[in-house]
C-alpha cells in the first residue's frame, strides 16, 4: 500500500503504526502454530529449544516423538477411531444436510425461519450443553460408549455447516433455469443431474469438509458420549495434556496442522471454483 505523496507526517506515522499493529496480530495468530513444529523434533522430552537446536546441530533433533506416535497402540487406535467416526458422521450430515438445503431453498418452503433455526441449533448451543444433554439422553437409548452414539452426535453437530454452505450456493439461483429446462423437455432427473448437481457440488464438498473437521476436532462430546473404545486423537491429546505432557503430543499437533493445511487448500480451491461457476452464470 504505497501512500500518495501528499499524505501528512502524522498520517504517515499512523499508517505505518497500523501496518505494525496488523503484523503483530498476524504473528499472534500463526506464531503459536509455527513454534510447535520445530519443538516436535526435539531430542529431549521438554518443551524448550535446546542449545543444540538453536545451533542447528543435528544431534539436537530427532524423530523419536513421531516414532512413538506411529508405534504406540493407544495413538494408533485413536487415529483409526478418529477417521472412522469422522467419515461416517460426515456421510450422514452431508446426505441429510444437502437434501434439507435443497428443500429449504425451494420457493414454497413452509415455516422456513423456524425450521432453519432448529436445524442450525447444534452450531449455536454451547458444546458443553449439547454434550451434557447427549450424555443423559443417549444413556437412556443405550448408545453411550458406542461408535454409533458418537457418530450420530457428530453428525448432528456437522449438519448445520452443510445446510449453510449448500444453501449459500443456491442463493440467487435462477429458478427460471429449471422452468426453461423442463419446458425444453428435460426430465426431473436430468434437471437434477445437469443443473443442480454442478451448482451445489462445491458447496456440498466444502460443507462435507467442515463437517469432517468438526468431528475430527471435536472432543467434549466424545469425552461424554464416548468411552475408551471411542477415543479419538483429540481425546488422546486431552488426557495426555492432563496426565503428562510428552512431546509426542507436539508431534501429533504438527501432523494435525498438516491435515488442516491440506483441508484449507482444498477448500480454497473449491471456493475459487464456485466463484468461477457462478461468475459464468451471472455474466
Amino acid at each position: 500500500m504505497a501512500l500518495p505523496s501528499y499524505t501528512s507526517v502524522p498520517e504517515r506515522i499512523w499508517h505505518y503504526l497500523f501496518i505494525a499493529i496488523c503484523a503483530a496480530v498476524f504473528l499472534f495468530l500463526v506464531f503459536p502454530l509455527l513454534v510447535i513444529i520445530p519443538l516436535s523434533f526435539n531430542a529431549v522430552p521438554f518443551f524448550t529449544f535446546t542449545k543444540e537446536m538453536l545451533a542447528f546441530d543435528l544431534s539436537g533433533y530427532s524423530l523419536r516423538w513421531y516414532e512413538d506416535f506411529f508405534t504406540n497402540p493407544n495413538w494408533q487406535g485413536a487415529v483409526r477411531n478418529s477417521f472412522v467416526i469422522a467419515i461416517f458422521a460426515t456421510l450422514l450430515s452431508t446426505f441429510f444436510g444437502t437434501l434439507a438445503a435443497l428443500g429449504l431453498s425451494r420457493n414454497h418452503m413452509p415455516y422456513r425461519t423456524l425450521i432453519t433455526s432448529l436445524l442450525i441449533s447444534p452450531m449455536i448451543v454451547p458444546l458443553i450443553i449439547s454434550a451434557a444433554g447427549m450424555f443423559f439422553f443417549y444413556s437412556r437409548l443405550g448408545l453411550l460408549g458406542s461408535h454409533i452414539g458418537v457418530i450420530l452426535a457428530h453428525a448432528a453437530l456437522g449438519t448445520p455447516f452443510v445446510v449453510i454452505t449448500v444453501t449459500a450456493t443456491l442463493v440467487g439461483f435462477d429458478n427460471s433455469l429449471i422452468c426453461a429446462a423442463s419446458s425444453l423437455g428435460a426430465t426431473p432427473t436430468q434437471i437434477f443431474c445437469k443443473i443442480i448437481v454442478p451448482l451445489i457440488t462445491p458447496g456440498v464438498i466444502s460443507g462435507a469438509l467442515l463437517a469432517f473437521i468438526t468431528s475430527f476436532d471435536e472432543v467434549v462430546v466424545v469425552l461424554f458420549v464416548g468411552s475408551f473404545r471411542q477415543r479419538t486423537i483429540p481425546w488422546q491429546m486431552f488426557s495426555g495434556i492432563r496426565e503428562h505432557i510428552s512431546p509426542t503430543i507436539l508431534a501429533v499437533a504438527t501432523l494435525m496442522i498438516l491435515i488442516s493445511v491440506i483441508l484449507l487448500v482444498a477448500l480454497e480451491l473449491l471456493r475459487r471454483r464456485t466463484e468461477r461457476i457462478r461468475g459464468i452464470k451471472e455474466s
Binding site: 450424555f135 444413556s139 443405550g142 473404545r229 492432563r242
Partner: protein
C-alpha cells in the same frame, strides 16, 4: 427356490461353525491404564489367559470416569463392561446405587493357603459388600532432598513456609488436605472427623491451608506431582506412593518420601450389575484375587496387597531387582502414623464440603 434356501442353509451352517470355532469369551476389564494396567496384565490377566484359552481379556482404560459411565449404562440396561477397577469410595457409591453386584466374599473368593477364609484374610478392608480389594495404596508426600535445608520428617513441615520455603503441590480436592491441616493445627488425630463434621472444623482447616495457599500448585492427575518435583517447580508435593516409587527408584530423581500421616486408601474390583458374563468373571476373580496373584502384582508396582496372607510372599521388583517390602506403605517403618480414608464420612459430606472447598479456592 431350492437353490436359494440351500445357499442360506449353508451360509447359516458356515456361520455356526465359525461361531463354535470362536467359542471364546471376551471379558472387558476396566482399569486405570499405564503402569497400573500393565501390572494387572502381568500378574493376573496373562497367567489366567494362559490356562484358560477360551477367555480373552480386553483392557479398557476408562476407570477415571467409570462411575458416571456405569450409572448411565445401567440406566439404559446396556452394560458392556464385565469388571471394573475402582477406589473403595466409588465402590461404596456404586453399591449404594445398586450398580454393582453384591459379592459373598467367602463363597466367591479363594481362601488363604493356610485355610483362612477370604473374609478373614481381607479383614476390615472389605469396606463394602460389592467390593473386592486388590491393593492398599497411600496418598503421601515426596520432597526434593536437594532443595530443602534438612530432611522433612513431619507432615506439618509442608505447612512450614519459614523452614521449608518454596512451592508445594496438593490435590485439588478437600479429601486428605483438610485432615492434614487439622492435624497440623493441633487437632487430635482421632478427632479429625468429628471436627470436620462441623462448620467450624472445616473453617479451621481452611484457615490453616490459607497460611500456605499462595505457595500451592493444585494437581488433578496423579502424574502431575512427580512431574513438578522432577522439574523442581515444587519442593514438596502429595501424590500416590507408587508414583513416587517410580520417580525415586526408576527415574533416580533426588526425591525422598515423607511417610508421616500417609492416608491409606483401597483400590479393587467391582462386578457391574448387568454384565453378560457373570459366571466367567467370577471364575476369573477367584483366580486373580488369590494370595499368590496379589503378591505377584507387587513385583510390578509398589502398592501393598490387600490380603494379609500375601505380605510374606512379596518378592523383588521384576525389573529393578530390589526388595519391594520396604517400599510398601504398609511396612512398619513407613506406617508409624497413618490415617485410613474415612469412607462413611466422605460419602455423606463430600458434596457439601466440596462446595465450601471450591468457594474457598475462589476467594
Amino acid at each position: 427356490m431350492f437353490q436359494r434356501s440351500a445357499i442360506v442353509a449353508s451360509a447359516l451352517l458356515g456361520l455356526s461353525v465359525a461361531a463354535s470355532a470362536q467359542a471364546e469369551t471376551e471379558l472387558v476389564v476396566v482399569s486405570w491404564g499405564g503402569a497400573y494396567t500393565a501390572s494387572q496384565q502381568n500378574a493376573y490377566h496373562d497367567p489366567y489367559m494362559k490356562t484358560n484359552s477360551d477367555i480373552k481379556i480386553i483392557n479398557d482404560d476408562s476407570a477415571g470416569d467409570a462411575v458416571a459411565k456405569l450409572r448411565a449404562m445401567n440406566e439404559a440396561g446396556n452394560v458392556s463392561w464385565d469388571l471394573v477397577d475402582v477406589v473403595a469410595a466409588d465402590a461404596i457409591r456404586l453399591c449404594d446405587e445398586g450398580l454393582a453386584e453384591v459379592i459373598d466374599h467367602d463363597d466367591a473368593l479363594a481362601p488363604a493357603p493356610n485355610g483362612m477364609s477370604a473374609s478373614q484374610d481381607f479383614g476390615d478392608l472389605l469396606v463394602s459388600e460389592c467390593f473386592i480389594p486388590q491393593i492398599v495404596y497411600s496418598t503421601v508426600f515426596g520432597y526434593r532432598n536437594d532443595l530443602v535445608p534438612e530432611p522433612m520428617t513431619s507432615v506439618c513441615d509442608v505447612f512450614d513456609l519459614a523452614k521449608f520455603p518454596g512451592k508445594r503441590s496438593l490435590e485439588k480436592r478437600p479429601i486428605n488436605n483438610l485432615e492434614w491441616a487439622l492435624i497440623c493445627d493441633g487437632v487430635d488425630p482421632a478427632g479429625v472427623y468429628d471436627a470436620l463434621a462441623t462448620d467450624a472444623g472445616v473453617n479451621r482447616a481452611l484457615a490453616k491451608l490459607d497460611t500456605i495457599k499462595g505457595s500451592v500448585i493444585w494437581w488433578e492427575a496423579g502424574a502431575q506431582t512427580p512431574q513438578l518435583l522432577a522439574d523442581g517447580e515444587v519442593v514438596v508435593g502429595s501424590t500416590y506412593n507408587g508414583r513416587l516409587f517410580a520417580l525415586i527408584e526408576e527415574q533416580k530423581q533426588p526425591v525422598s518420601m515423607l511417610w508421616d500421616w500417609q492416608v491409606f486408601d483401597l483400590d479393587g474390583w467391582i462386578v457391574p450389575k448387568g454384565t453378560k458374563n457373570k459366571a466367567e468373571v467370577m471364575e476369573y476373580l477367584r483366580f486373580a484375587t488369590d494370595t499368590q496373584r496379589l503378591a505377584d502384582q507387587a513385583k510390578y508396582i509398589s502398592y501393598g496387597p490387600a490380603r494379609k496372607s500375601s505380605a510374606p510372599l512379596i518378592g523383588k521388583h521384576a525389573s529393578l531387582g530390589i526388595e519391594m517390602a520396604p517400599h510398601m506403605p504398609t511396612d512398619p517403618n513407613n506406617s508409624k502414623t497413618t490415617l485410613l480414608y474415612n469412607y462413611e464420612f466422605w460419602a455423606d459430606n463430600r458434596d457439601d464440603i466440596d462446595v465450601k472447598w471450591n468457594a474457598w479456592l475462589m476467594q
